[in-house]
């Protein structure tokens, strides 16, 4: 039986067992529900459209106010004002008390139930200021255009240094969720590699397996099998999430969606190749599932730390955290998509980062192969990595 046939056989068993396991179905289901919620809900709930305030006007000048209030409100997309005439202050009080009106304005005062909210208050005061100002100017003989020029000078020109478009916000949001997904997949499926290795030790199946196949091929098959399931799940979640978002129109997908998604997937492949080898080491030095908690602690620590580095980078893609994290193989898979999507990275940084990760993968594979070979038959008690490396010298018969 050729080497690749054997690896394929082992990987196939791994895939079958994972897909059939309840743990996988539950976690996949939860992930799917989460992704769908994120993709669809914003469109369904929306922001409900602008907030509308019901305002009543009375007394002298109420006509002018009635006209001015909606105009002032128009400057803010999120707010609208519905004005109606009220006969008197008493009627105004009655309607505010009954909740039909948010406020009643007139005769130099505003009737509200408890307090005047900042937003409505600003609109009402501004409208009042304008109306009162116009009246005063008219009294002084200034009308029409002259009055308008005094009351409403040229608005200030906004000159943003780094104009943020709506599209960029969406892209950043997408990359954030992509990174979150990536982190979850790396941690979850990496842990499965460790628990798979230790389960075979605890159940002694590894004795039977090693009599039939060399340790390197067994490990390769396991990592490839679990990785394949992880990759399929990631691609599935990404595709379903994006399709759901596009179909419900809740998110306007920018043009770069597909490249961003492709990068997240590609970095999963590289990241998993690296992390899985280290998780395999954690599994190989343990002899029972209970020992996994302590053997995987350093690695979990690094994974979570890398995720936080990614979050920090998200807030400041060109900043120092992002720059350093780009060249650390643990954090690179999560940080690169963010920096690339934000356009805050030089091409040479990408090349060097990929090179570092690839070299790290090679080193990790070699380490994992040796520790697995040395640790696989050590079936009682936890080992140290150095012990396992020494044991590897005298482990497998070469023939």
């Amino acid at each position: 039986m050729s080497r690749s046939d054997l690896i394929r056989l082992v990987a196939g068993r791994e895939i079958g067992e994972r897909i059939r396991s309840k743990a996988f179905r539950i976690s996949a289901g939860v992930s799917l529900a989460f992704i769908l919620a994120v993709a669809i809900l914003p469109g369904v709930i929306g922001d409900g459209g602008p907030t509308t305030y019901d305002v009543g006007v009375f007394g002298a000048g109420s006509d002018a106010l009635a006209e001015r209030l909606p105009q002032v409100a128009a400057f803010d997309d999120d707010v609208a004002v519905d004005v109606r005439r009220v006969a008197s202050e008493e009627e105004g009080r009655r309607l505010v008390a009954s909740g039909d009106l948010d406020a009643a304005v007139g005769d130099g005062g505003v009737v509200v139930e408890r307090e005047l909210s900042d937003r409505l208050g600003f609109i009402v005061r501004e409208a009042n200021r304008q109306v009162a100002g116009e009246a005063a100017l008219a009294g002084a003989g200034v009308r029409g255009d002259a009055a308008a020029r005094i009351l409403a000078p040229e608005p200030l020109a906004v000159r943003p240094l780094d104009p943020e478009s709506e599209e960029e916000t969406t892209k950043e949001g997408l990359v954030f969720f992509g990174t979150l997904l990536l982190y979850g997949q790396l941690l979850g499926f990496g842990y499965w590699v460790a628990s798979g290795v230790v389960e075979e030790k605890a159940s002694r199946v590894v004795e039977v397996l090693l009599a039939k196949a060399p340790p390197n091929q067994l490990l390769a098959g396991k990592v490839i099998g679990i990785g394949a399931v992880g990759l399929a799940q990631l691609v599935g979640l990404v595709v379903i999430g994006l399709l759901a978002a596009a179909a419900t129109g809740s998110v306007d997908l920018p043009a770069e969606t597909v490249p961003v998604a492709a990068q997240v997937v590609a970095w999963f492949v590289l990241g998993f190749a690296f992390y899985s080898c280290l998780f395999a080491v954690a599994g190989a030095i343990a002899s029972r599932a209970e020992e996994l908690q302590s053997t995987t602690t350093p690695l979990t620590f690094l994974t979570v730390g890398s995720f936080f580095a990614a979050i920090t980078t998200g807030g400041d893609p060109g900043g120092p955290v992002g720059q350093v994290a780009t060249f650390v193989p643990f954090s690179a898979p999560m940080v690169l998509p963010i920096r690339v999507a934000a356009g805050e990275i030089e091409p040479w940084e990408v090349v060097v980062s990929v090179a570092i990760v690839v070299l790290s993968i090679v080193a990790a594979m070699r380490l994992a192969g040796r520790v697995y070979a040395g640790g696989a038959m050590h079936l009682r008690g936890q080992m140290k990595v150095r012990q396992a490396l020494r044991a590897e010298e005298t482990s497998q018969a070469r023939a």
Partner: protein, 296 residues
């Protein structure tokens, strides 16, 4: 057919094997006996390629054993050696395929061996849900699926009730009748004595006795006479000229004949003392031999 040739192995300061040599022939059952930590499991692991000997070699059919040979050996490690959540059928097919069998061949061999073990109906259930006895049958099925020419079993009888023991013994006998070489280790020496054609006793990684069971039993001492009188008296045995009392078990007395002594003379002496209930002449049991050999 299987030859272990002066195998030596240490784990750090601990000597696991010390020049161990042993031969298991085709169609023979070879019992492998020793105290805990004597090196039985290590010897088996070296045979299967799970550990590398520091010196010596393992030979199969006259030449150094190869990975291709090892893949087709049947091996039952000391503890379960099964995937808890996989079904019996799936995993036996998997092991068969790992051994080099094709997909269709593996499947039909797996079903056949499960049938012959009597667990075909439970073969679709996860192994962890099977009873211990059925799990053991499953483990045995996994070892037999490749129709192996060599079976290596590490403590296969441990935990089995007498019926289970008989069943397993029957399976092993059938294998041996088919030409398979079988080597198994056990602490139950009466069992080893009953089943094995040959036995090897090891202590501290070294062989201390080896050969056909009868020969090994007789190798250390003379035959023993075991006599019991109906009235339970044993005093008559104390003053015999050609025999010495070596043990007393209740009303049975065990005597060793001096060289040239006549067992019939002892029988006459017993009859003079009372009605004889039982009189046996036997080589020392393996248990006695083992205690003696390992203690020295």
């Amino acid at each position: 057919m299987l030859e272990l040739v002066t195998l030596s192995k240490r784990y750090g300061d601990v000597v696991a094997l010390d020049g161990l040599s042993m031969t298991v022939g085709a169609g023979r059952i070879h019992g492998f006996v020793g105290r805990n930590g004597a090196g039985k499991t290590t010897a088996m692991r070296v045979t299967l390629g799970l550990a590398r000997a520091d010196a010596g070699e393992v030979r199969w059919k006259g030449r150094p054993v190869m990975a291709a040979d090892r893949r087709r050996f049947g091996y039952m490690p000391e503890e379960r050696g099964l995937y808890p959540r996989m079904t019996a059928l799936h995993q036996i097919v998997y092991f068969a395929r790992l051994s080099g069998m094709g997909a269709g061949e593996a499947r039909s061999a797996a079903m056949a061996v499960l049938e012959s073990m009597g667990i075909a109906e439970r073969s679709g259930e996860p192994v962890e849900r099977l009873s211990l006895g059925n799990q053991q049958r499953c483990q045995l099925a996994a070892a037999l699926v490749t129709s192996p020419e060599l079976l290596v079993l590490d403590e296969p009888f441990s935990g089995l009730d007498p019926v289970g023991v008989d069943n397993l013994a029957g399976v092993l006998q059938a294998q041996v009748d088919g030409g398979t070489a079988v080597v198994f280790s056990s602490h139950q020496l009466e069992l080893v004595e009953r089943l094995s054609d040959e036995v090897t006793i090891i202590d501290q990684g070294r062989v201390v006795a080896s050969g056909p069971v009868g020969e090994v039993r007789r190798s250390r001492g003379a035959d023993q006479l075991k006599v019991a009188l109906e009235d339970g008296g044993t005093a008559w045995a104390d003053e015999l000229p050609d025999a010495t009392v070596v043990a007393r078990f209740g009303d049975e007395v065990v005597l060793e004949l001096s060289p040239g002594g006549d067992d019939q003379a002892v029988l006459d002496a017993a009859r003079r003392a009372g009605r004889v209930r039982s009189f046996r002449r036997e080589a020392p049991s393996l248990t006695e031999l083992f205690r003696e050999v390992v203690a020295s």
